[in-house]
Amino acid sequence: MRVVLADDSTLLREGVARLLEAAGLEVVGQAGDAEDLLRKVRAHKPDVAVVDVRMPPTHTDEGLRAARQIRDELPDVSVLVLSQYVEVAYARDLLAESAEGLGYLLKDRVTDVDAFAEAVRRVGEGGTALDPEVVSQLLGRRRREDPLDELTGREREVLGLMAEGRSNAAIAAQLVVTERAVEKHVTGIFAKLGLTAGGETHRRVLAVLRYLDQTP
């Protein structure tokens, strides 16, 4: 899998590159700002671009804007956005249309090398990776007459992992249960929340997130 990296901190960029290469991914280009990133993405057409949110010149959300531009211009290139902080508002923006080939993670996650490499792979293959922090913000939001109260503890865990973009197999592995057990939980959750969604993981993510985000 071919990766382009963008981060204005050379130290971090080199570190992430080394981690990804150690995990068997190929880093074909590195960029220090959004313009450079777009140039390298157009040139290399990688499977995935791993992009830091804050880059020159304004150090605000250049990475997010570049991510949107890449998705508009080159729909085949997946984008994984890394950020020092995560907010539901940014996730909402990024996932406005589709969760396919999209990731939004805290930068801290790179230290968990295996999980991080797995997330990059997942996104590169057209899947979704949403930071547990965002998911827990959405799940933790207090509601009046909360429908989530009807879920069992295990169902809440499964819902959280679904929202992060994990497949049934990945959820099963994480919770050390069978895939069939996960499928049963998913059906139960969807019934309790009145949700309908197709089999594909990234569509499921969107349905779950919309549900969590829109319920006041």
Binding site: T60, D61, Q84, Y85, E87, V88, A89, Y90, L106, D108, T111, Q137, L138, G140, R141, R142, R143, R144, P216
Partner: protein
């Protein structure tokens, strides 16, 4: 105040300037007529008197008219000045001009009576005043016209006067009769005028007297002389005596415009003094208000500075006790792991796992610290996203309504954010609330923020430093913060933050 400010280049100003030019021309013509007269005695004296009084009245009249366009005094003064020049026409050797002069000669005295009775307001008040003024005009206009056709100048004691061109011959008796009626009406009119002026002066306050005295003294003298003149004729006094009184009366009238000007100037001075004392009082009040404001500002500035220091101390403590401690512990764990790498790989692996967990905790802590200093989402996405994030993190259900869709000035957004953040923290800590709401709205160029809960109430805004600090922060932007918290009635924190800073 505005009435006293001379307007520049107005149509009134131009009209008055034209009148002034006209008065100069008429004055010069009048002097020419008087000096070339062959039936006027002491021509130089008469010409000077006419010119001084005529120009004096017109000049002071136009000045008063210009400064107080709403007051009729200026118009009347100007009219007295112009009609005054009728006297000059009576010196003319031309019969027609002489006759016109004879018709108009008494008119300025009627206008003067009007002026003095109405002075200083310029308005006639009450029936007595109106009757007196009507009488004056009746005598000097209606009866004067009636008298003219029957008068024979020679019989009036004027040697060398031109013939009366419209004279109806042999009717001197009618002229005498009309003259008697004129005198009969003029005497009570003049007496009433003197009485009205005297009563006005008696009733006036000391500051009004400063304005009235010069006018009234000169006016009273002039009219007293006129009165004497009026009664001298029926009393059968000699022509010489009548003439002397007449000259004295005319001289007194000639002084009148300058007395009026003095009155006007004094009235301006009086007004200035009143204005000055009013301004002084207002000034003192403003100064004391300003002083209070400065004191308040000094106190709130001191609190803001103090709050800044307190905030820095908190950040310093959090960094030292949190992140730095963790990093020190981490360094020790790593060194320990390295020293046992070969001898005890199991323990060193455990130490490394601990170090990794410690690192994760450190970054999380640093993230929270950074958010507390300034939430990046606020500057990146604005209030709606930032308040949404605050509501998401609140352990009490929070509804956010009315967030403005557009971006507001950064200082306003920041103040509104921290008001809501502090208020929601208090809701979570003390309110024992079931739910809270955050409402925003724009009202008259300001952002209104309200955080309300259904908790126990009884919050004291002066007790904690949090709300006090917020009030200072909002006040620094020219806004205000209020807390309503009746015991058992929930708490409402309201802030009003001007958008223009």
């Amino acid at each position: 105040m505005t009435a006293d400010t001379p307007p520049r280049l107005t149509s009134l100003g131009r009209a008055l300037a034209a009148l002034a030019v006209l008065a100069v021309a008429i004055g010069i013509a009048s002097v020419t007529i008087v000096l070339s007269s062959d039936h006027t005695s002491s021509r130089g004296f008469a010409a000077a008197l006419i010119l001084i009084a005529g120009w004096g009245f017109v000049g002071t009249g136009l000045y008063a008219w210009y400064r107080r366009p709403g007051n009729r005094t200026g118009v009347l003064l100007t009219a007295v000045g112009f009609t005054w020049f009728f006297q000059a026409l009576e010196s003319s050797d031309n019969a027609a001009i002489f006759a016109i002069g004879a018709i108009g000669i008494n008119l300025p005295f009627a206008i003067l009576i009007h002026l003095l009775v109405a002075f200083p307001s310029g308005r006639l008040e009450g029936r007595l005043q109106r009757t007196v003024v009507a009488g004056a005009y009746f005598v000097t206009v209606v009866l004067q016209w009636l008298w003219i056709p029957f008068v024979n100048p020679e019989r009036q004691g004027c040697e060398g006067c031109p013939e009366n061109p419209i004279r109806i011959d042999g009717q001197e008796g009618v002229a005498d009769a009309v003259n008697a009626v004129q005198t009969a009406i003029a005497i009570p009119v003049v007496a009433a005028t003197i009485a009205i002026i005297y009563l006005r002066w008696r009733r006036s306050s000391p500051s009004e007297r400063r304005v009235l005295t010069p006018v009234i003294a000169t006016g009273a003298l002039a009219f007293a002389l006129l009165f004497v003149l009026l009664v001298l004729d029926p009393a059968g006094a000699s022509d010489g005596a009548q003439r002397a009184v007449f000259i004295a009366a005319v001289a007194a009238f000639a002084c009148l415009p300058f007395a009026l000007l003095a009155g006007l100037l004094r009235s301006r001075i009086g007004r200035d003094e009143e204005l000055r004392s009013a301004l002084t009082a207002e000034n003192e009040q403003l100064t004391s208000e300003l002083r209070a404001k400065v004191e308040e500002l000094r106190a709130s500035r001191a609190r803001i500075v103090e709050a800044g220091y307190a905030e820095r101390r908190r950040v310093e403590r959090d960094l030292h006790d949190g992140a730095q401690q963790r990093l020190v512990a981490l360094a020790m764990s790593l060194k320990l792991a390295r020293s046992r790498l070969e001898a005890d790989p199991q323990t060193s692996a455990e130490l490394l796992d601990e170090a990794i967990a410690e690192l994760g905790e450190t970054t999380r802590e640093l993230r929270e610290l950074a958010r507390g200093i300034h939430p990046a989402v606020l500057s990146d996405r604005g209030l709606e996203a930032a308040l949404g994030a605050l509501a998401d993190r609140s352990p009490v259900p929070v509804e956010v309504v009315g967030t403005p869709p557009e971006r507001l000035p950064a200082a306003v957004e920041s103040a509104a954010y921290f008001v809501v953040a502090e208020a929601l923290t208090n809701v979570a800590r003390y309110a024992e609330a079931e739910a809270a709401s955050v409402g925003l709205g724009r009202e008259d160029g300001a952002l209104a923020v309200e955080v309300a809960d259904d908790g126990v109430g009884g919050a004291d805004p002066t007790a904690g430093t949090g709300l006090r600090g917020l009030a200072d922060r909002v006040a620094a932007l020219g806004g205000e913060l209020r807390v309503e918290s009746p015991p058992g009635g929930g708490t409402k924190v309201r802030a009003r933050i001007p958008l223009d800073g």
